[in-house]
Amino acid sequence: MDFQLSDDQRALQEGIRSLINGAISLEEIRTKEGADDTVEQAWWDALNDAGVFSLLVAEQDGGVGLSLADGVVVAEELARGLVPGPLLSTMVLGPGLADAAGGMPIALIDQQSPNSAVPLLLEHPQTVKSIVVLPHMGDAAGQCRRLDPSTLTLSLVDEPLDPLTPLAVVQGTLPEGEAIDGLDAVGLRQRSLVLLGAAQVGIAEVTVELAVEYAKGREQFGRPIGSFQAVKHLLADALCRTELARSACWAAAVTLDNNDVATREADTLSCSPGEVRWRVAAGAKMLADDAALANARTAIQVYGGMGFTWEVPIHLYLKRARVLAQTLATRTQLADLLSALI
């Protein structure tokens, strides 16, 4: 057991971070706020060239051959950088779909339950070139299907909550599309939950870093506000949330990567390895959703009135955290999923 970043994972983390800092700066990203298309082709190409979308693809299939545990490291960095686009879905689909691995932007959407009243929303409608529909969570035997976005009637949504994540409503019922053979829907959903969780961890971490820097410099009553316990304790609790969620996401990734780990944990928890995989994936996203939402709000609180202004970027992280939290499974759905396993 060596449950921490390996030297290779540290190098991967630093590599992606410096790539984003250099090629996809926050200043540039912010010029896209409110646009119908917020993904610059050059950013996408830079990530594709760096192997982000073929990261999880085996080497013999022409990929980078890394594991979900490595993918988690990358997902944290992408979210820290606030990089917009259908990044995680394209990344997670790489191992099953050659064109995702090749860098075609692909969205992953959830098949709504038949009587759902919630409209079906597609993120980044002008960027995605293809769509994979995950069967409804209750549909154990369901197959993933593939849709061509041009076969859908889409209407762009005004004022999306995250100004960097444009949305379109899918009008009418989804076309049947084409069944994808060999793509395990359960595994795909579990891996997606973990990557979403990892992105939330990135948000939870970076918002605390921003607030700490501000609290060190901002003075009131003749001293930095970060010296006051009232402020310190908010941020200490925020750090705890990040590290707890990160531990859970890492463990979930390693458990999904490795059958031996799932089997050992199944022995500990007196359940099946299959149940362990659902449990770790759902638990990780739950903790990570909580951490990202609470930490971004804490950071705004520490910034005070400035935190409530458009200029300070923390609201963008908070809004992104909201998008991620409502993706594939909400907190309530995750809790229900988890409680069905125990």
């Binding site: 057991m1 060596d2 449950f3 921490q4 970043l5 390996s6 994972q9 545990a69 605390v208 700490v212 609290a215 060190k216 001293r223 930095p224 970060g226 010296s227 006051f228 316990q229 402020v231 310190k232 304790h233 941020l235 200490a236 609790d237 750090l239 705890c240 590290e243 707890l244 969620a245 531990s247 859970a248 890492w250 463990a251 990734a253 390693v254 458990t255 490795n258 031996d260 780990v261 050992r264 500990t268 449990r279 770790v280 759902a282 638990g283 990780a284 739950m286 903790l287 309530t332 995750l334 809790a335 229900d336 988890l338 409680s339 125990i342």
Partner: protein
Amino acid sequence: MDLRYTEEEEAFRLEIRAWLSAVLPSLPAKPASTDWPARRAYDTHWQRTLYEAGYAGIDWPVDGGGRGSSPVEQLIFKEECEFAEAPYIGTGFVGLGHAGPTIIAEGTQAQKERYLPAILKGDEIWCQGFSEPGSGSDLASLRTKAVRDGDEYVINGSKIWTSHAEVADYCEMLVRTGDDDSRHRGISWLIVPMDTPGIEIRPLTTIGGSTEFAELFLDDVRVPVANRVGDENDGWRVTMVTLSFERGTGFVGDLLESMRILRSLTELAKRTGLWGDPSIRRRIASLTAAFDGLWALTKRNVSEAARLGVPGVGGVVFKLSYSENGQALCDLGLDLLERSGLAASSIAGADSLGDLPNAELVEAWIKGISLTIAAGTSQIQRNIVAERVLGLPKEPK
């Protein structure tokens, strides 16, 4: 990021599992929780059993007489002990967890030979005299004075929160040997035999009705200078060195016990029908996620300790998160009991569902209140996280 155990580690797990299943059935019955002499006897018997099997001081270095196991082996050992419901360290806690490791790190050869084997064998029990009525979170302000008189120190003052004082043979005591305002620079670490004249023990009753800890009044207590560990006035450093023995496994037993309680609460909710309430199910799911996360955090801490020799910042993060979730768990227990949670004894015939674990859960609920106070309040822990991990400026003093 690797969570696999090696073949040797899996073999070690099986060895421990087999040993526990062989020895546990022959243990004497657990004594009443208020009978401290009987509890001491029970705990020391278990320690002797560990010693004879070669498992005493699993987290102690070999040159201190311990087993010198790796942090991962410590984790496996504690995990198996918890699953088998082996006895807890109990009254052996201070000797094995703090005083012993301090003597290993800072004691003289003579001190090591005199005290360490007796701790490992379960022959001698230690208590801790650090906190004082006026010095809790601000420990460095302690005022119990030790004045040199020839080859003895004469100690006057008082100590508080001294667990198991009534049944202890020795006390690891911090005393002021420097000037009144010398703070960290004027503290010494002494071994005080508890049968020394001048020590009065006054038990303190907790909100759970237990006399687990006591107040010590020290009136001209004479202790040989040879009982000092480390240099005079260097006791603060001596105390801190001991913390470097922590390998991130300190709370493994508590965490796994909490996970076991959570499983039993799930069963309880299903039995009483409260499981049908989605808000109850979701609370249980949230706690399950949190404790699974804490288990993963423990493995991170252990891995860091194995690599760096000391646990990273994760220890404080663990303590803070564990305390909060532990209290939420205890609250859930009492909520599930409804009116059966109003007594800490079993309520016979309270319903048709069989025995409710209300005594255990009520006791856990009350004990849980101390989680955010004992071993450094959560407020002090948050200061530590904020200043040492996040790098925020210190509070003006």
